[in-house]
Every structure is written in C-alpha cells, then in structure tokens.
C-alpha cells in the first residue's frame, strides 16, 4: 500500500502543471501550427468526415491532440464521438460500407496515405474499448504481451516489460502473484486495467479510450482515472466519455460533439476548465450544465 501513495504524489505533480497548461491553452487558440508551444502535437485530425453507407455521420472535424495531455470528447450519444476516435487508428474501416474523408496526421504523416502499413499505425495509436476484452484463452502475462506476439515484435526482456506495463496500468501489485492465471479471473475493473497494460506493451504514442469506464463500478472507475492521470505525462490520451464529471476530472482539454439529427459536428474545443466554466457556445453551456443530453 505504499505505491498508491507514490502514485498520488505523481498525480500532484501533474496537477501542478496547469500554469504551463494555460500557456498551452493560449497556444491552442492560435492553433493550426503543429509543433508550436511547449509540447508537441501528437495527433492532428484534419477535416474528418465519416460515412456509413450513404449516411454522413461526422462532418468536418479538425482537432489537434497535444502529447502529454488528456483530451476528453463529450457529447450526447449518437453524436459520432466513437466513430471519430475510430477514424484515428483506422478501426473505422472494419464496418462494412464505411467511408471517410480528410486526413489524420501522426507526426506529420497522414495515416490514410496510400501504401501505409495499417498495422504499424495501430501499434502507434493504441485503443482501449468500452467493455474490458482480455483474451480469455491467454494468461494475464500473455495478455499483456499479446501485442508483441500479434505484431511479431521482438523484445529483449519480456519480464521487465510485463512488470513495467502492469505497473503503469496500476495493476502490478494486484496480480504479480498470479501472472499465470487466466485474464477472465479478474474483476471488471482489473480486466480493463489489464487491457490498458496490454495496449501499453507495444509502446503506443497515442492511446484512444472509448468510454473505458462505462461498464465499471465507481471504485474501478476511480482507479482507471488515476491510471489515466498517471499515463498522461508520457503520451497523448484521447478519451470518449458520457460522464461530464469524469471529463472534468481527468482531462486537460475537452471537445464537445453534437448532432442535431444529421451528422455529428465539433461544437467547441478548449481547455477543460474553460469549457466547463465559461463555454463560448450556448449549446455547450446547455449540455455541461445538464439542461439536455
């Protein structure tokens, strides 16, 4: 029970950065200049449109995600948040009839460019899903290292990597004595952290989280949120959530999506504190104050 305290300290540190974050926030207003500011741009979405069949579900989303920050995407259900983040690591194309337009730049390189190896993109842009989905036929250790096996990556020291990933996901202390148990034997919250550890093992630069806590109890949710805080210093995190309090707790930036029956659009984006305290758009205000949605 010493580690959690240390975690807390770390958290304090990240929490003390808002001064520099407000600088970044100022930089955000003068956005569209990738690489400017103290922190680099991790991922840029440019004019993303998405279709299912003939139906346009997302219109013209442009968003920058800064590395070392957490960006929350909020909005009522059906506004295209999940579709949007699935375009960011090319999971969108698994849906039959899907189509898209626009570009997604990862380190300045369009991930949709012809000839791009899509598996390499997904290694750099990891994803955690709504429902915890560890591989049931694998042990906890195998689950964490599954990504290496799936992408045929080599690593010198598997045990170190295993410990590091579980540690970063905040799960090491709970499972270190039963690494050979099956993933299904863990609780829901533990399974979700196992899935986070699994995504970390391939060392992604960006982590997409699609409502990672919606299937969990409050206690597990808290743990996941701690984990997110903890990870955010070293990577770009994008989290879709229905829970506005969660967005306020974990994120540095918040984007608000809305659909008026037609395609989803990005209404407003900015530092989380501003979105929640003085949003510019009345629709955002109505949503964050709970008047609809």
């Amino acid at each position: 029970m010493i580690n959690p305290n240390e975690d807390g300290n770390d958290e304090m540190e990240t929490k003390t950065t808002p001064s520099s974050l407000s600088d970044v926030a100022n930089a955000t207003k003068a956005r569209k200049q990738p690489g400017s500011g103290a922190l680099g741009v991790g991922l840029e979405a440019r004019g993303i449109h998405a279709w299912f069949g003939d139906k346009l579900v997302l219109r013209d989303i442009s968003l920058d995600f800064w590395s070392g920050t957490v960006t929350a995407l909020i909005g009522p259900s059906g506004c295209g948040k999940s579709t949007f983040i699935r375009t960011l690591n090319r999971m969108h194309e698994f849906i039959p009839g899907a189509a898209m337009a626009g570009e997604v730049l990862l380190n300045g390189q369009d991930i949709y460019e012809q000839g791009t190896d899509v598996t390499k993109i997904r290694l750099k842009v990891g994803m955690v899903f709504q429902k915890p989905n560890p591989f049931p036929s694998m042990t906890i250790a195998d689950n964490v290292l599954a990504g290496l096996k799936l992408a045929q990556l080599k690593t010198e020291n598997k045990d170190d990597l295993l410990e590091e990933c579980l540690e970063r996901a905040g799960l090491w202390n709970e499972v270190k004595d039963r690494l050979n148990a099956y993933g299904g034997s863990l609780s829901g919250g533990q399974q979700q952290r196992l899935c986070i550890a699994r995504s970390l093992a391939v060392r992604p630069e960006v982590l997409l989280m699609d409502e990672p806590c919606s299937a969990l109890d409050p206690g597990s949710t808290l743990k996941i949120e701690e984990t997110i805080q903890h990870l955010s210093s070293s990577m770009t995190i994008i989290i879709v959530t229905h829970n506005m309090q969660q967005a306020a707790r974990v994120s540095d930036y918040t984007g608000f999506f809305l659909s008026d029956g037609g395609p989803g659009e990005l209404v407003e984006v900015g530092p989380t504190s501003e979105i929640f305290s003085r949003p510019k758009d009345t629709r955002t205000e109505n949503y964050v104050t709970g008047r609809f949605g």
Binding site: N89, M91, F94, P96, T119, K120, R122, L123, G126, M127, F129, K131, N133, F135, P136, S137, M138, A146, G147, K149, L150, A151, Q152, G184, C195, R198, S199, V202
Partner: protein, 338 residues
C-alpha cells in the same frame, strides 16, 4: 425489516423469511390439448429412433445370435443353402469386419482431406472475402450441400476417378514407404482412396458451413482488440478465432465423419467391394457397410436380408454415436463464452 406497517403480520416472528409462493396456472382445455399434440409431435423423434432400433434389432436378432461377436470381427459373408433350397443359418457365416473397417477408413480419409480445405475456405469467407463474393460463395456452397449423392457418385465415377487414380499413382511413387500407401497389386481403380476423395468433396460443404457459423460468432470485441494492437489478419485469427472456434471445428468435422460413414450411393459407384480387410488405401479393394447392403439386397433371400438388417443396425449405432458426440461439441461451443 426496519419499518413495519401497523398491524403487519410479520410482527409475531422477529426474522421473517419470505416463503416463495408457487405460481401455478391451470391451462385451459384447448391449451391442454394443444400442448399434448405438440408434445406428441416432439416425441416423434424419440419414437422413430426407438422403432428403428427395435425393428432392425428384432429382424437382425437371429443372425446376431448365431454369429455373436463374429458378426463384427469376422470378414466372411457366405450364404449356405440346405437341400430344400432354404438358407442354412448354422452353416452360413456373416461377418462385416472388412466392411466396417473400410467404412471407417474411407470416412476418416474423407475427413482428413476435407477439414483443412473447409477450414481455410471458412476462414476466407469469414475474414477475407469481399461482401459480394462472400454472398455468392455461401449460396453456392449451400447449394452443393443439397446435391443428391447419386450425382456425386456419377460425377465421381466418370470425371473425378481418372484424376484421382493419377494422384494415387503419384502418391504411390513417392510415399510407398508409408505402409498405408503400399501396393502389392498395381490396381488403382475404385480404391478406398477414390471413395475417400469423393466423400471429402461431399462433406466439404457441411464442415465449411459449420466452421463458418462458428467463426462468425467470434466475439467482435476480441477481434477488434487484436486489430487495435497492430495484429495482421492472420495473427488475429491465430490469437482469437482459432482458440474460440477450435472445438466447433472438431464438432463440424465429426458431423462430416458421420455423414461420410452413412453415405451409400456415392461410395457404391466408386468403390470395389472386397470381403477382405485391406488397409492399403490405394489398392482397388475396399469395404463399406452401406454399399454392401445395397449390393447384396437385390439377390438376398430372407435370412440374408435379416443379416443385412443387422449390418444396418451396426451402421445406425455407429453413426448415432459419432453424430451425438459431434452435436454435443458444436452446441457447447455455440453457447460458451470462449
């Protein structure tokens, strides 16, 4: 238990454990009749299977009693007649060992050939094929499952057999050191190998559609998790689909085995029946219970017909066993989470 309404009855016992009330509905008369009729219909499968067992057993009893275990361990099929022209049961011998072994050999060969092809085909249709191709091919394979067996028999005899004989020669040339492929007499026509290939083609649609069904039930979240970790299609299949679908494929293979063991006409046309146990699959001499029944039936007297019914009983029990195991495996895979 904190608030009790005034005058509540539970006051007299400090801890009141709720007693479950039985909920009973007395069905109306029309429903009773309806339920009775539907239950009778449902029980018909039990009745029919039971009747098959009883009648084949009853008619075959005489022969089974006089032959004992020799009926399934002996390989002699000889009908002796006494002076009056009636069949002399004591002097005749009926043994189906060669036919049984031939049946198992052909069916096993068919499964060995068909399973890899079907599984690959099912994987292609589930995970690789473009939508349109998938739709067409699924319909085509379903249609093939409905082809009558006499069609496979004639096609196998006239079109396929020359090719398969040639493959048999090649196998013999390069693999004759394997005992299974040894030949003493170079007769390649109508061998168990030919029958095995024809049966394989017949059961490919069955195994393919069972496997496809199982593969397409692979939980989508696991598939996506694998892809999100940078998996290629093949590494995703190995990590997620195969562990999930393995036992279902085994079940499908056993369904195919059951079908192959009971197949009659297609085997009859392409297999040379010989009453001698033969393990060398390339030689044109094999056995098959179902085909033997068809072959002997035309010229059989009453006693021999009874012996054929006993043979049918053995075949029935054998396929029943294989199919039951297969169905148990398949239905368990479908319901389970992993």
């Amino acid at each position: 238990m904190t608030t009790t309404a005034p005058g509540a009855r539970s006051a007299n016992s400090p801890i009141s454990t709720p007693v479950k009330r039985e909920i009973t509905t007395k069905p109306r008369f029309s429903d009773k009749v309806f339920r009775g009729v539907a239950t009778a219909g449902g029980l018909s499968s039990l009745v029919i299977l039971g009747l098959i067992l009883i009648f084949l057993g009853y008619q075959g009893f005489q022969v089974l009693r006089s032959e004992g275990f020799g009926f399934i361990t002996g390989s002699n099929w000889q009908v002796m007649q006494d002076n009056a022209g009636n069949t002399d049961l004591a002097a005749s011998t009926f043994g189906i060992a060669a036919m049984l072994i031939g049946t198992l050999l052909c069916a096993a060969m068919a499964v060995v050939i068909a399973v890899p092809i079907s599984v690959l085909c099912a994987l292609y249709l589930t995970f690789y094929a473009p939508q349109l191709l998938k739709k067409i091919m699924v319909a085509v394979i379903d249609l093939m499952a409905a082809f009558p067996s006499i069609l496979f028999g004639m096609w196998g005899f006239f079109i396929l057999m020359p090719h398969v004989e040639y493959w048999g020669r090649l196998i013999h040339k390069y693999f004759s050191w394997i005992p299974l492929f040894k030949m003493e007499i170079p007769v390649f026509t109508r061998s168990p190998f030919v029958a095995g290939v024809v049966l394989a083609i017949m059961i490919i649609p069955i195994i393919t559609s069972v496997s496809r069904e199982i593969f397409s039930q692979t939980p989508l979240d696991r598939v996506q998790a694998a892809y999100a970790l940078g998996a290629t299609r093949w590494s995703m299949i190995r990590a997620v689909v195969i562990p999930y679908g393995r036992s279902g494929v085994v079940g499908g293979a056993m369904l195919g085995l059951g079908r192959a063991m009971g197949e009659t006409v297609a085997v009859y046309t392409v297999l040379n029946l010989v009453y001698q146990i033969n393990w060398h699959v390339l030689i044109g001499a094999g056995g098959n219970v179902a085909s033997m029944i068809l072959l002997k039936f035309g010229e059989a007297g009453p006693t021999e017909t009874r012996a054929l019914m006993a043979a049918g009983l053995v075949l029935f029990l054998l396929t029943l066993l294989v199919n039951s195991i297969a169905n148990t495996i398949v239905s368990r895979t479908g319901g389970k989470g992993r």
